[in-house]
């Protein structure tokens, strides 16, 4: 009896189970309504539910809990048993952080009364979460006192959860924490300055550098390491000042990832094991200090929550390409089904468009949040009394029907180009954020695709923190216009993951971590094509001389024919292509993209006339499915270019489109069509 996480679903005892589920909040409904609600979920077509388990709801006093003894709506065991009897498997999400739009995010109020549990800002003050209906201070995941409390909570849950794990019960996966991201506050110098965080930071530095002297050497620090102040503001005049700040950001990544690992370990120590553990990052691009690859070192899979409106296609595309380029099982653990009242409204058209667009970019599963409506939520298919909301119900029925016919979890998106976001530069961008402590998760909503970092060069020839992302966006735009599919990954990816791609595009500047340099070298030597530049890195992350790629770059074989000087260097079995200038503005990247695509024989695959976009997916049975998106408010009729005659059948509407060389497809405003491709 085993559950294995595969790239296209969970393999349970040899059967692949797609991850399609819906959230139900048992404690928010009277227990006598549970049978009706669960049967309705089953009738809708789902076979999995997801549940939060709120600590604050069950704790009656410190160390004492009500699991149905006092209030039947809190009888977690009975609810799980009922789900099992109804034929529903369960994803459990016991926190400790749950949010769930519940007051104080599901933590017992008493924790907020004791400063030992609370995160600190650089001035030693607490950080306030201004979330209605009551603002509260942020918990510190560095606080050891907090972890002792978590253990008591998990001890209380264990006798209920452990006997109900698969195959004895309905629980087949466990989520550790929820949207773990310093409570959405990812600005570099906002938190966490808790005394325990300081100890962990010093331990991290010692572990990274081997010993205190080595840290002091790199930091040019003459006092004992224990006296080293925590970074509170970005003060960098020269590259040698950087490691102190970049290490701080890396530490913040580690603290998040280690917290999730620790939660998993706590469960496993209590016998809650042999089921996959997963996590959900909050709606964001999941860049530093969030790290999908780092989290997946110890957690089975890490997804990304999605609450977007239809006019946010570019944001959605970037987020999910970044997820699917990195995660071993890319899912949306929360996809809007209805909406929270305090959030910008998400209607059914938004839900339809964004769900299909997510699958278009390679998402393999979704949990629809919420499938049963409850207080502080509107627009779900099932009402809190067990009735149905006709429009939402019909929408979800049709949507699930389409998914069961389409089986997107079986499809592979055909991609040959991987754009690599450099983790070192992401850290630099985060560390030099000019608006800190304002969180990037808010500013990203106001100014998407804008770099809010300082603009200095910090001793380098260019402002790396600004240019690395702009260069990637130039490539994204160029590839999109040419109809060449791509994924986005991170330099944290393993060599095996890198090697799946024929071409890697990675902006490089004067420095790049040793690990990343070595992995890129191995990729090229094994036959990969690396497009990099404008610089060949000659320093590592400690700003010490180190270069593994300059040997390739110093022997150019020829130049590409384009307006930007681009050298082609044969290297091992592969090639290094050095773009020696930064194309600015980003529109100027297109000639380089075009020249590189021609040189490397990158194919356009069923391109559509912009602004429409396409994405081809292949099924194991030879199926070809083409997603076509119109991300605009205007009805369009783009031609889809095909090498030979093709017939496209819309799997949702049954519409058919034919043509030779160019197939015109009617695209209403904000639509994603899912087309089966057949010979004409």
């Amino acid at each position: 009896m085993s559950i294995v996480v595969e790239s296209n679903g969970l393999n349970i005892d040899g059967r692949r189970i797609p991850l399609l589920s819906g959230d139900v909040h048992y404690w928010r409904h009277p227990a006598n309504l549970w049978p009706t609600l669960l049967q309705k979920v089953h009738d809708l077509g789902l076979r999995i539910i997801s549940i939060y388990i709120p600590w604050s709801v069950h704790e009656t006093s410190p160390g004492n809990f009500d699991f149905g003894e006092l209030d039947p709506a809190k009888n977690l065991g009975a609810f799980l048993d009922l789900a099992h009897e109804t034929g529903l498997a369960v994803l459990t999400r016991p926190g400790p952080h749950i949010n769930a739009e519940i007051t104080l995010f599901g933590y017992p109020e008493r924790l907020f009364e004791d400063p030992t549990y609370l995160a600190r800002n650089p001035q030693g003050g607490v950080l306030t979460m201004p979330i209605p209906p009551r603002a509260f201070p942020m918990i510190s995941y560095a606080s050891e006192a907090f972890w002792r409390e978590v253990e008591i909570w998990f001890d209380a849950l264990t006798p209920i959860l452990r006997p109900r794990l698969h195959p004895h019960g309905p629980i087949f996966a466990m989520q550790v924490d929820n949207e773990c991201s310093y409570f959405f506050r990812t600005a570099p110098y906002d938190c966490d300055y808790h005394p325990d965080a300081r100890n962990k930071w010093l331990d991290f530095l010692k572990a990274k550098y081997g010993q205190a002297d080595a840290v002091n050497d790199v930091y040019d620090n003459n006092s004992p390491l224990s006296d080293l102040p925590m970074p509170e503001r970005f003060r960098v005049r020269a590259p040698k000042d950087l490691p102190y700040h970049l290490d701080w950001i890396e530490f913040k990544e580690e603290l998040l990832a280690d917290s999730l690992t620790r939660l998993r370990t706590l469960w496993e120590d209590r016998g809650v094991r042999d089921v996959p553990f997963f996590h959900n990052f909050p709606p964001s691009t999941a860049q530093s200090p969030l790290s999908i690859t780092r989290v997946e070192q110890n957690i089975d899979f890490c997804g990304l929550d999605s609450y977007l409106q239809k006019d946010k296609f570019d944001i959605l595309k970037r987020r999910f390409l970044f997820l699917t380029g990195q995660s071993r099982f890319p899912v949306a653990p929360e996809q809007a089904s209805g909406c929270y009242h305090a959030w910008p409204p998400i209607d059914l058209h938004d839900q339809h468009f964004t769900a299909l667009a997510s699958y278009m970019f390679g998402v393999k599963g979704m949990n629809y949040y919420m499938i049963v409506e409850r207080e502080r939520w509107y627009g779900s298919p099932i009402t809190r009394q067990g009735g149905i909301r006709k429009e939402s119900w019909n929408f979800m029925k049709d949507h699930l029907d389409l998914l069961y016919r389409l089986r997107p979890w079986e499809l592979e998106r055909k991609v040959s180009v991987l754009l690599l976001s450099v983790r070192d530069y992401e850290r630099l961008e985060n560390a030099s954020n000019a608006l800190s402590p304002v969180t990037p998760m808010v500013t990203e909503q106001i100014w998407p695709n804008e770099e809010l970092c300082l603009e200095g060069n910090f001793g380098f020839s260019r402002p790396i923190q600004l240019l690395h992302a702009k260069m990637l966006r130039g490539w994204e735009r160029g590839l999109t216009r040419l109809g060449i599919p791509y994924a986005i990954g991170s330099t944290d990816l393993t060599l095996e993951r890198l090697s799946r791609h024929k071409v890697i595009v990675c902006p490089t500047f004067e420095f790049l971590s040793r690990d990343a340099q070595q992995r890129l070298r191995l990729y090229v030597e094994a036959g990969g094509n690396l497009i990099c530049g404008p610089e060949v890195p000659s320093y590592d992350e400690r700003q010490q001389e180190f270069s593994t790629l300059d040997g390739f770059a110093s022997r150019p074989n020829h130049r590409l024919e384009c307006s930007i000087d681009t050298l082609v260097c044969n290297a091992g079995a592969g090639r290094l292509i050095l773009v020696t200038e930064v194309p600015m503005p980003i529109e100027q990247a297109e000639p380089v993209v075009r020249a590189a695509a021609k040189h490397l024989h990158l194919e356009s695959i069923y391109p559509a006339i912009p602004p429409c976009e396409t994405s081809l997916h292949l099924g194991p049975d030879g199926r070809k499915v083409l997603f076509v998106a119109n991300p605009t408010a205007q009805a369009l009729r783009p031609d889809i270019i095909t090498p030979i005659g093709r017939c496209f059948t819309d799997l949702e509407t049954g519409d058919k489109f034919y043509g030779h060389e160019a197939v015109p497809v009617e695209m209403p405003p904000y639509t994603v069509r899912v087309l089966e491709v057949e010979p004409c």
């Binding site: 007051t103 907020f112 009364e113 800002n121 650089p122 001035q123 003050g125 607490v126 950080l127 306030t128 201004p130 209605p132 209906p133 009551r134 603002a135 509260f136 201070p137 110098y189 906002d190 503001r233 209805g338 909406c339 009242h341 409204p345 209607d347 059914l348 207080e375 502080r376 509107y378 627009g379 009402t383 809190r384 909301r389 429009e391 939402s392 000019a434 608006l435 800190s436 402590p437 304002v438 100014w447 804008e450 770099e451 809010l452 300082l454 603009e455 200095g456 600004l466």
Partner: protein, 266 residues
Amino acid sequence: MLSDRVMVIDTDARHWLNLIGLFSDNKEPPSVLLCLMEDNHCIKAIHTIKGVLWGFAFPGENKLDQALELAGADYALLLPQRALAQMFYEAQSAVDLHDNYVKQLMDLIAGVKNVLDEQAVWYPEKPYRFEPPAYEKIEKTFNRIWPDDSTIGFFVFENTRPFTSLIVGKEGGKISLITSLDALGMADQALDFRNGYQTYGEMIAQRFAPLHTALFIELGCFHELRAGAKPLSYLYLAEQRGRARLWPKPFKLRFALWAARKFKGL
């Protein structure tokens, strides 16, 4: 004023989306050029609408006219970069976990405002004249005009079909309920408010608490009322013409509306 156990329930999606749509203006707010300053240098320039102005050639603190022209902004806001951290610190330190949300928000805003007032330079002038009243005064007025254990309602109709609805309940000095006609199974039921307002009132009283007051209004009339300069006078006329109905109309409210029309010209 807001209960931390507030029940927001049975809000029909169409009603909620229409409600938000009623109050969302498509008017673009004035644009602001935010210049983060360090040692008299602008280290980052951000235009609230256009985004980051990379490499912005800041002409100097005494040439802000020129800065506005260069950036194409209505206002300039010069703020020392360090002030952001101070603003966060002061605002967050002011919040008490045990206060209700309105008080907490007011304290947060006051913390931000204090730092802005002390350290920000606005040009050509501060775009706001916001002096928040003392919380205690707001709370007192809130409790004076709206008694506990009652509800207030807002119902907009398109022909006779409810376009949006909002029912808000109050208990123990706090808003404890936010719901819609969906809670009464009436979200899609056609009922002419001119004849049916009392039916709504009875149903709400039976299910939740008696209506203290409610506005029933035609959709077109609501838009006209919002667009006009004298909303209360317009409402008075609309009532005369049967396009709106304020009911019940307790004495204090009747008096306040009369006074606002008479003496404030609203």
